[in-house]
């Protein structure tokens, strides 16, 4: 019988500092769902191919299913739950997915939202081809991607406009 191995880790989760003891064999996706109840983090392929488990770590996109939980120590992790403001309002990118009917079964949506959020935070203007490339690590088996690209483009244009930049 193998002796279980735990590690105490401290990290920032959706803006708050948290500390927990984690089984060293656990993925970040498992820990976020089990320990913190963050079920926006979807487990799809569990081999880093589908993007449903995408979270931001220090502002970059990562597949949390192939990221060991112990590696989150000292990092800044953000999930879809962290996008909701203090009054419970959803973010512009989430609203854009609703407005553009970019959701069908919804399983891939949180991963797409996090990949899109990373792009929106750069403040850059992306062409549709660039958006496709930047979202290429997220798979959707329902929508055919068209409405997803529309939604991201819409949120991007709104943010650029708010920042006083010319929309596409």
């Amino acid at each position: 019988m193998i002796e279980k191995q735990y590690k105490q880790i401290t990290f920032t989760l959706n803006g708050k500092q948290v500390s927990t003891s984690v089984d060293v064999r656990e993925s970040l996706a498992d820990m976020l769902r089990r320990e913190f109840g963050l079920t926006s983090v979807k487990k799809g392929c569990e081999v880093g191919e589908c993007g449903a488990c995408t979270v931001l770590i220090n502002g970059d996109v990562f597949a949390s299913c192939i990221f060991l939980a112990i590696w989150a120590d000292g990092k800044d992790v953000m999930t879809v739950e962290g996008l909701v403001d203090t009054d419970g309002h959803i973010a512009d990118i989430q609203q854009a997915f609703i407005d553009e009917a970019a959701v069908q079964c919804g399983f891939c949506t949180p991963g797409f939202i996090m990949s899109a959020e990373r792009l929106l935070r750069t403040g850059k203007r992306y062409t549709r081809d660039e958006l496709r490339k930047e979202l290429s690590g997220n798979m959707c088996r329902c929508t055919g991607y068209h409405n997803i690209i529309n939604a991201v483009e819409k949120a991007m244009n709104a943010r650029l406009e708010a920042a006083g930049k010319q929309p596409v």
């Binding site: 590690k7 064999r25 081999v47 880093g48 112990i70």
Partner: protein, 294 residues
Amino acid sequence: MYDINHIYEANSVEEAIQRRIEQPQALIISGGSDILIGIRAGKLAGCDLISLYMIDELRGVSLDEDGTIRIGSLTSFASVTKSPVIQKYVNVLGEAADKVGGPQIRNIGTIGGNTCNGVTSADTASTLMAYDAIIELTGAEGKRLVPIEKFYLGAKKTDIRADEIQTAVLIRPESYRGYHGYYYKYAMRSAMDIATSGCSVNVRLSEDKKRIEDARICYGVAGPIPLRTRSAEQAAYGQPVSRDTVEAFAAGALKDVNPRTSWRATKEFRIQIQGELARRCLTEAINRAGGIWA
């Protein structure tokens, strides 16, 4: 939950070497985009791991005083692509790193892992070999430098000794100054796919841009390890920038490639692709070098 027996974490190179000596059975994990998948598939289930992921001193790209480009082994593909040093001096390496997987994989996968796993299809490996990169290994006795061609011993086998880890990939100034290159990844999809074959070429032209002074070509998936095709290079040395030279170069490459049939593609298909890759990569490398065609 991954089926891992024990994880030994290293926070410094010294600690990693110590772990290597103490736990000779343990596998090295850097980003994990191969190892964790292997564990999940059962192939590596129950293994011991030495985790290098938290060793931040092994991240980043810098330029040494003598012009050597030093890429820390834990540098992610995305960081390679974004590095101003890479963009300025060996942009083809940044372009090759940008062909790996998708954005999420490019943030976790490392250049060290991409070479240490000894895989022929690795997108950065062929370009590093076309640049005559040097692998820096650090062990109990100190550092050891190995030319990348010698670093590959066979499929999935690389020259890492029992007390060593790979600490950097180096590119010497004489390997990149005056050279221009191009990498082509041939795959079924433009993202989240492994190369059916890949080809990286770099060339140095004469001052009048009409003659090829030096050319290097390396393939992925033309053999069990990344493969330099010397017959192609010899066909290009000193030759005029012309269609005939491009054809001789491709013919030379086909003398040396030895792909196999796999579920991804047949040997015959890969040979067909590899001739064309030599043509396209040399042509584009020449164009990037400002070549004047005869």
